[in-house]
């Protein structure tokens, strides 16, 4: 699913579903990750918290499916759906996974569902055909990494301790974790959380990652430009993708 891929995260329906769709079509990311707004995003920093809070003023779960359906009419790129577990649990796991897949999502990443608790999701996903992505962190031991490697379409390696959010620097911990994860896992590895600039993207790809996720930095652009963030997002993604040119 990933190969030197720049993955862009967008919170769904921030500021509305039409805008999210336009941002998705405009941003020339290799892969898009769409976040379901949640009332209590414990793994997210202030940027995404604020975005979800705003989005929830009008958000309906059906918008998630609409966004993917419309996007897939025009683009063939892969979509990852990112969520906290409760909206899925509440909707009904089977019903949710089926609708997510049918509407066009290729993979499902549930932030607060470690693989040990994911039995039912894994089973349903297998039946339906959607892929699963699990998080790994710098403190995930080798034994758990091996289990994640078995179950996950690719490894979503959280760059550091803490939550999502724009950070100034990439910590040493990220490179150590990437190195160890690479030595244990056979699947491709994408690094996310705190990756905010072209320089960060370059450093992480050079360290051998197969994918880099940029989220909060994009959310900040939407916060600033609102519905007319299209061009700014496009420019930002182009800049990130030019990480190889000096």
């Amino acid at each position: 699913m990933i190969e030197k891929s720049l993955i862009i995260f967008l919170p769904a329906c921030y500021p509305d579903r039409e805008s999210t769709l336009r941002f998705m079509l405009k941003a020339e990311a290799d892969l898009l990750e769409i976040g379901i707004p949640f009332s209590d995003p414990i793994a997210d920093g202030v940027e995404i918290q604020k975005a979800y809070y705003e989005a929830l003023k009008s958000f309906k779960l059906c918008d998630i499916f609409w966004i993917a359906r419309e996007y897939k009419k025009e683009m063939e790129k892969r979509l990852i759906l990112m969520s906290y577990y409760n909206p899925i649990y509440r909707y009904g796991i089977k019903r949710f996974v089926e609708e997510a897949y049918e509407s066009g999502y290729d993979a499902l990443l549930i932030v607060d569902l470690p693989f040990d608790e994911a039995g039912e999701i894994l089973e349903v996903s297998k039946d339906v055909g959607i892929k699963n992505v699990f998080l790994a962190a710098p403190n995930t031991n080798n034994e758990r990494l091996k289990a994640i490697d078995e179950l996950s379409e690719f490894i979503y390696l959280v760059s550091t301790y803490g939550v999502t959010g724009v950070r100034k620097e990439v910590s040493k911990l990220t490179f150590e974790a990437l190195k160890r994860t690479k030595s244990i896992c056979k699947k491709p590895i994408a690094v996310g959380f705190g990756i905010s600039s072209r320089e960060h993207v370059r450093m992480i790809f050079n360290a051998g990652a197969d994918g880099v996720v940029v989220g909060s930095a994009v959310v900040k652009i939407v916060e600033k430009f609102g519905r007319s963030a299209d061009e700014e997002i496009k420019k930002f993604v182009e800049e990130l993708k030019s990480y190889q040119t000096p």
Binding site: F38, S39, Y89, I148
Partner: protein, 382 residues
Amino acid sequence: MRFGEFGGRYVPEVLVPPLEELERAYKEIKDDENFKKELDYYLRSYAGRPTPLYYAKNLSKELGMKIYLKREDLLHGGAHKINNTLAQALLAKYMGKSRIIAETGAGQHGVATAMASALFGLKCRIYMGAEDYERQKMNVFRMKLLGADIVAVNSGSRTLKDAINEALRDWAENFETTHYLIGSVVGPHPFPTIVRDFQSIIGKETKEQILELEGSLPDAIVACVGGGSNAIGIFYPFVEDEVRLIGVEAGGEGIESGRHSASLSAGSKGVFHGMLSYFLQSDEGMIKDTQSIAAGLDYPGVGPEHAYLKDTGRVEYKAVKDDEALKAFIKLSKLEGIIPALESAHALAYLEKDESLRGSVVVVNLSGRGDKDLGIVLEALR
């Protein structure tokens, strides 16, 4: 570990290792003689255990039943919270942690955590919803006096659930040095078990005391339920006995008003704050804001063991409204000279609502004292 289907460990991967570390440490330490001795020492000489089981004869006469009050309100800090904070702070020390974080609603758990941290020389940070921070100025000052650093949380609904969110975020970043001292029987495994074990001392003492006073077990035990720590604490040693156990939730302005905190009476199954349990949530799984006159019950979820005890039918869960709790608050003050916490007043208020309790022997867990609520009560009586 789960309680039936409830509980579990629904957290981002980064929190799995700290929870495993805590589980291992707790297993090692809980039967360790030195730990038990040290904890027992502090519970007695610092917190004031054992607490009396007091026969409330005036209230008994008024309500036509024999009422005993388990006087957790007499503990240092004014509530049962200290049982858990002393024990967990000690556990944190054994684990080599130098910093404690905690959430607080009304401030009782925050105060008890700040006390235990001061006692054991641990750095302490308390997260408190910005709204609660404003409402509970005195408790904020108390915590600051005790050396804690207080953070007013401005995200979400700016109340207890948001304080927990923020504490979890802090823990995900600082778990190497920091213990998250959760204040109720909620959160991911092993927290609900640890807090239940540390609060069970309430029920153990109650059992010995009632057997001595009455020569038999009581007919019923009543306790208020927010997250559920004082209730589990007094219920747990009686679960296998033939004693009616009644948990009283905060009915706020009435269940039908939608403005309440009664997640067992009116909520549905969900996964939040690391656990599968009952929550007040929208049809689309968003966690709802809650309401109660008692800040300590103002939480949209409940401990997973309570969810289990509800589903198995072992414990009855009822709801009492703000105005009913307020009346009980005043009644106990006037009849017995004891000002109960508004939380505990919910348990007291239930006694009048249940005809079947008449003529029986009932223990009420008086989980805290009401000094902290005087401002709110004064406001409500206007």
